[in-house]
């Protein structure tokens, strides 16, 4: 009788301790290690506000759907910035980053030169010529490339209403001969699928 009570009590205490370790102890230990490595990787020039953890926002980025016909939204953490242009830059950088196994409609190695936002809420994304040189040339891919960038800014930043893409600092007619890029384009969810199926 006494033995079973002691056994049960022991079991309860063990489960309690195990649960604490699993849900609180481990994550704390793990996250402190991760922060340490991130800080180490960032090196000395980074670490903008020491002490306070780096603030992040959750941004919706866009990738080519399984069937290749539309864009699929995906949530990613992006560094927070109070300045719209800087925030836009961070979002475009995240969109350009490799995201395997997801497939981006933007050709690999495309580099961001600059982002600026006018008072009217028009954003200009200046990209390296790789986006043209390495493009598949298909109109479908071109539409997906353009609206990946347009939607990445207009969906995440209400202050931005339209987006124009520049190549090597210059206005261009099109990326690959189809979509008219001579003026800023507004958000279009026509090419975005909501629920993956």
């Amino acid at each position: 009788m006494n033995r079973t009570v002691a056994l049960r009590a022991g079991l309860v205490i063990f489960v309690g301790v195990a649960a604490w370790v699993l849900f609180f102890g481990l994550p704390r230990w793990y996250s402190s290690r991760k922060e340490a490595t991130v800080a180490a990787a960032a090196g000395t020039p980074a670490a903008p506000s020491p002490g306070a953890a780096v603030r992040k926002i959750t941004a919706t980025l866009f990738y080519v759907s399984e069937d290749g016909m539309t864009l699929t939204p995906a949530q990613r953490e992006v560094a927070f910035s109070p300045d719209v242009s800087a925030q836009a830059r961070a979002i475009v950088e995240a969109q350009l980053a490799p995201a395997a196994p997801l497939v981006s409609a933007i050709p690999a190695d495309t580099k961001l030169r600059d982002v600026f936002v006018t008072e009217r809420g028009d954003a200009f994304i200046d990209l390296s010529g790789d986006i043209v040189a390495r493009h598949s040339g298909g109109s479908l891919d071109e539409i997906l490339t353009v609206y990946t960038l347009v939607n990445a800014l207009t969906v995440n930043l209400p202050a931005i209403g339209r987006v124009q893409i520049l190549i090597d600092g210059k206005e261009v007619d099109t990326l690959a001969g189809h979509v008219d890029l001579r003026h800023p384009l507004a958000k279009s969810l026509n090419w975005v699928v909501h629920d993956s199926h």
Binding site: D67, S136, G137, A176, G177, H178, D180, V193, D195, H197
Partner: protein, 503 residues
């Protein structure tokens, strides 16, 4: 037993009495940005009417009765409406408007026909008022509330759900747990005609969704896949056509439009079937890319510029011999031609149709099928909307008098032809579908650079995907090129025969 029968009889009698004597009709719903509220309606001599005091509260009206003159004086935002109490007439600032019935009276309360809202109040109101009688709605202010009507039909083993959306509203179609979710960019939906006329094995119900902006299509368990296309619908509406394909129990391949190609009677339309008279005198065909611009590149190295030129030459020969129409190519060699030059050639030759031919590419090699595009104005902002409705200007002519001319920014010339381009695009899509495999999004709008300057109905045809090895072979094969050409020629014949044939 007897008391029960008596009780049932009494209840039925009461119900019948209530129905016959029904003094009040079903209420209308007033929808504003702030929300919805009911607006009571009553029937007098078969006419539905609103209480004038309800309308006064809703629209800030002042009402004064002039018993001597037999009229009601209604003040609405600085304007004065005189409403006769004897006759079905109202005068708005001196302009007469008829009503279906004279006002009715119950005690001290005046009632006016429901149409008073649309015929009298709407014209004088600074905010938009939209009376929708079939749906029993009064929309006040800038409410985006498209009407959605549904129809379900069975096409062999497949089922088709057709949603007519007016005015056209951006939307998405997605599959979610045994149903399709169609989500509209709107404040709410006017879904009075949403109830499906029938159900099929694949479509169990069409109903309003869980938010005011969504429609649900409940699917049967045997649905394997769906394909949604947008098409121009009747009276300026968008038609969303959703085809549902059932699972095939047998391993036999599903309807691949490849093998049964000879079946759609390629010889049926005789040569020179219709005399060249009629709307179309000149057609410009634009083989995409060329010269320095090779366009898309195939899995095995085929260049888009080569394929488009080959098919454009065949198409020119076929149109000239079958329809007797003059055909011009924007290039007849491997040369670089600017996008503006292509549209200018068509404009300067007063072409009646502009057909740009392209071949597609995707990062996903499995993607295949033909697609047809016409211009989407969404990227062009207000300037394009204005151009689409630009009024004619009167210009003085030498020797006296004036002549009406249209002044449109040159680069937005296409804005005036969106509807005709949509009709032609639909014809091309339909004709292609009978002969070649189509992509899952076969009819689309996009802000394409080569189309925007064309001063005539214009489409861009993506003939197939070069990045798909099988389609690359098809696009190089004689029989497939002929099938594409046949389809486009037939589309021109159909378009010419339809409303779009005359300009």
């Amino acid at each position: 037993m007897k008391p029960l029968v008596a009780a049932v009889g009494a209840v039925l009698c009461l119900l019948a009495a209530a129905l016959l004597a029904q003094p009040s009709a079903l209420p209308y719903t007033v929808v504003t940005r702030e929300g919805r509220r009911p607006l009571a309606a009553r029937t007098f001599n078969g006419q539905e009417m609103f209480a004038l005091e309800d309308l006064a509260r809703l629209f800030n009206l002042t009402v004064r009765e002039d018993t001597a003159a037999g009229g009601l004086t209604i003040g609405a935002g600085g304007q004065t409406i005189l409403l006769s109490t004897q006759q079905p007439l109202a005068s708005i600032q001196g302009r007469m408007t008829s009503l279906p019935a004279a006002p009715a009276r119950d005690g001290r309360t005046w009632f006016v026909p429901v149409d008073f809202v649309s015929r009298v109040l709407a014209p004088v109101s600074p905010t938009k008022i939209d009376l929708r009688k079939p749906s029993r709605l009064v929309l006040v202010g800038d409410i985006r509330m498209p009407r959605v009507a549904a129809r379900v039909e069975s096409l062999g083993a497949q089922s088709r759900v057709t949603l007519d959306v007016a005015p056209p509203t951006p939307h998405t179609v997605a599959q979610d747990n045994g149903r399709l979710v169609i989500r509209f960019e709107a404040d709410a939906l006017d879904a009075a005609d949403l109830r499906a006329n029938t159900t099929t094995d694949l479509v169990q119900n069409v109903r309003a969704g869980d938010t005011p902006q969504t429609v649900f299509v409940d699917l049967g368990p045997r649905v394997a896949s769906f394909r949604a296309t947008d098409q121009p619908g009747p009276a300026g509406a968008t038609r969303i056509q959703i085809d549902l394909v059932p699972q095939t129990d047998a391993p036999a391949p599903p309807t691949a439009p490849g093998p049964p190609q000879p079946q759609p009677q390629p010889d049926a339309p005789p040569l020179l079937d219709i005399p060249p008279a009629g709307g179309l005198r000149t057609i410009v065909i634009d083989p995409g890319h060329g010269g320095d611009d090779a366009g898309a590149k195939g899995a095995q190295g085929t260049l888009e510029k080569t394929v488009t030129l080959a098919i454009a030459r065949r198409l020119k020969a076929s149109i000239e011999s079958r329809l007797g129409t003059r055909v011009l190519l924007t290039r007849d060699a491997d040369q670089t031609v600017g996008l503006d030059q292509r549209a200018s050639l068509a404009n300067n030759n007063k072409a009646d149709l502009f057909i740009s031919l392209h071949a597609n590419a995707s990062v996903r090699p499995a993607v295949a099928g033909a697609e047809v595009f016409y211009l989407g104005l969404e990227g062009y902002g207000e300037a394009a909307q204005r151009a689409a409705q630009a009024p004619r200007d009167a210009l003085p002519v030498l020797g006296g008098g004036t002549r009406d001319i249209e002044i449109i920014p040159w680069e937005l010339a296409q804005a005036r032809y969106i509807e005709q381009s949509a009709a032609f695009a639909q014809a091309v899509e339909g004709a292609l579908r009978e002969r070649v495999p189509m992509s899952t999004r076969a009819l689309q709008q996009s802000p394409f650079r080569v189309l925007v300057g064309a001063n005539m109905p214009a489409v861009l045809v993506e003939l197939g995907f070069l990045t798909n090895t099988h389609q690359e072979q098809q696009l190089l094969a004689d029989d497939h090129q002929n099938a594409l050409v046949q389809a486009i020629v037939e589309a021109i014949v159909r378009y010419r025969g339809g409303a779009g044939g005359t300009r």
